[in-house]
Amino acid sequence: MHARRLGGLSLILLVCAALYMTLGARGGWDFILPFRGAKLAALILVAVAVATATVLFQTITYNQILTPSIMGFDALYILVLTLAVYVLGGQTVARLPQMSQFLLTSTLLLGASLLLFGTLLAQRRQDLMRMILTGVIFGVLFRSLTSFLQRMIDPNEYSVIQVSSYARFSRMETELLGIAALLTIAALAATWAMRHRLDVLALGREAAINLGEHPKRGMLQALVVISVLVSVSTALVGPVAFLGLLVVSLARLITPTARHAVLLPSAALVSAITLVGGQTLLERVFALSTPLSVIVDLVGGAVFLILLLRGSGR
């Protein structure tokens, strides 16, 4: 059953991608194809990165409401980047090769997230609501600190950060595409390799230990992958608050299973359809100037609210 649904999703994605590439095209194909192709590739990269990071995060927190961005991960990324520019100077950061820039921010992000969320997640007696609230408040704190630091930075150096501070899908940093693709594929390969272990980890701490799995180690590895994926997606399009939650919740409805071998591709496909299809509709059909991220946040926020209300009723 799942195989057929995954096939259907792939088909829809292909149609969306074809429409995105061709609809409303004026001018020579030799310009349009590479121009739109790069954007399409970036959209799909981001979609897959966000979906995978969200699934991983939900697995290690044993919870289907949490996502990296709800817990303030991408706000933390921007804070880390701002801090790097503030301490090292914008020119130094901008002149770093992109690979080392990515690695620098990812490593810092990993360190910070381990410190914050590691301690938060490792609490024995978990109070879910308190944890989410803490994450949301951390998000506000990181954003405030970022805008605070941004005021302290020279306006010329600010441009280094500006691109990743706001979510946008129509103008993406396509120069970063090569490295982003490389990192995402590496992270995806790592995730795919641990898909069965993720199934075991999702059973809970005690069951995982019983089955010979080391929960702490699994969590650490997942956090490393999440840090890389969040860095990639935030660097490409900026923070998107509720995309991950929206698409993973949809994927759980379409392919109701706990097996990561199905859930991971399903979430990635739904996510790519949402971004590519949504962007096609927005840009080409309705010609709206509102960015897709605003609409995704509106819809995703509503989904979050419904999940919370329903979850609390039970």
């Binding site: 109070d127 609501m129 308190r130 989410i132 609230l133 803490t134 949301v136 408040i137 951390f138 506000v140 704190l141 954003r143 405030s144 600190l145 805008s147 605070f148 005021r151 302290m152 608050a241 709206l288 100037s289 509102t290 960015p291 605003v294 609409i295 946040d297 509106l298 926020g301 509503a302 979050f304 609210l305 919370l308 209300l309 609390s312 009723g313």
Partner: protein
């Protein structure tokens, strides 16, 4: 610390801070003229004092009405509703007088707060932290709606003015609406006992002979008017209404008639400190008070969330 002593200490600190605030700015102390003080510095101090105290009081009210410690108007949709109201006026009736703008903004704020209250009624009382969480998301959704409309109408820059609080634009003639907010906040003190009783819940209130629905509506109207006036004149300053009443309630309990003056004083002092900090940290430039308070307020909030509560004396 006894209550009376605390009030005097807060009052003394506030006066000292206000005088200090008059002399903080780009123009140095020696070149200071009466005109500058009168047109710019004094209105700014007044605006900060009124905003801080009114927001703290409306936060305390909101917490009584919703019966939850961790809510405040700026984060649970009232502030966003006010912004939505102004946006609608600017879109459809840009010529409307300021008072009409403010009125519609207050009406929208009231509507969104009523919506929030309706949602809260359906939440299980066993999960107190669910309420602020739902509030934050609810406020976020309305905020995203505002952004959506503003994007379509090319008013994004306009919206920013209301979404982030800042006092640098305050001059004589441009902040006087705030006195109205001060008046409303002061009037709520007349009904402080009623609001304290509402905080005990619906059944207890009716038992004590209170017209519950009326008092709740009255409180929401007051909160909405104060919030709308603040958003219209200086913009949103989140967390003031959250942290100040919480700290006061931890130290001195929940009898609003006794604590409301202290809440107002403490709120004014905290916002004034943040405003002075914002002016000094990157001298001669300014950091908006909303940003400074965003850092200070969230840290205090996290402390409130994790520090074990001692019983009020």
């Amino acid at each position: 610390m006894s209550m009376r002593l605390a009030v005097f200490a807060a009052l003394a600190a506030l006066i000292a801070l206000s005088i200090l605030s008059l002399f903080v700015g780009v123009i140095s102390r020696t070149d200071l003229s009466w005109e500058l003080l009168w047109v710019s510095r004094a209105p700014r101090v007044l605006a900060v004092l009124i905003t801080g105290s009114a927001l703290a009081v409306s936060g305390a009210l909101m917490q009584m009405l919703v019966r939850n410690r961790f809510v405040e108007p700026m984060t649970v949709g009232t502030g966003q509703g006010a912004a939505l109201g102004i946006l609608l006026v600017v879109l459809f009736a840009p010529e409307a007088p300021v008072l009409a703008k403010m009125g519609l903004s207050a009406l929208c704020a009231l509507g969104t707060s009523l919506g929030f209250l309706a949602i809260v009624r359906h939440l299980p009382p066993t999960q107190p932290l669910l309420v602020p969480l739902v509030g934050l998301v609810y406020g976020g959704i309305i905020g995203a709606g505002v952004t959506f409309v503003a994007y379509q109408a090319d008013l994004l820059q306009f919206i920013d003015i209301w979404m982030s609080g800042e006092f640098s634009g305050v001059l004589q003639g441009r902040y006087e609406l705030l006195w109205l907010a001060a008046g409303v906040a002061a009037l709520t003190y007349l009904a402080a006992d009623q609001f304290s009783i509402v905080g005990m819940g619906r059944v207890a209130s009716i038992n004590l002979g209170l017209n519950y629905a009326q008092v709740v509506l009255l409180g929401l109207v007051a909160v909405s008017v104060v919030t709308a006036l603040t958003v219209v004149t200086v913009g949103m300053i989140p967390f003031v209404g959250l942290v100040v009443p919480n700290i006061i309630s931890r130290l001195f309990g929940d009898n609003l008639r006794a604590t409301l003056p202290l809440t107002a004083l403490f709120g004014a002092a905290l916002v004034l400190i943040c405003d002075i900090l914002g002016r000094l940290l990157r001298y001669p430039f300014e950091i908006p008070v909303g940003t400074v308070f965003g850092v200070v307020g969230t840290v205090i909030f996290l402390w409130l969330l994790y520090a074990p509560a001692r019983h009020a004396r």
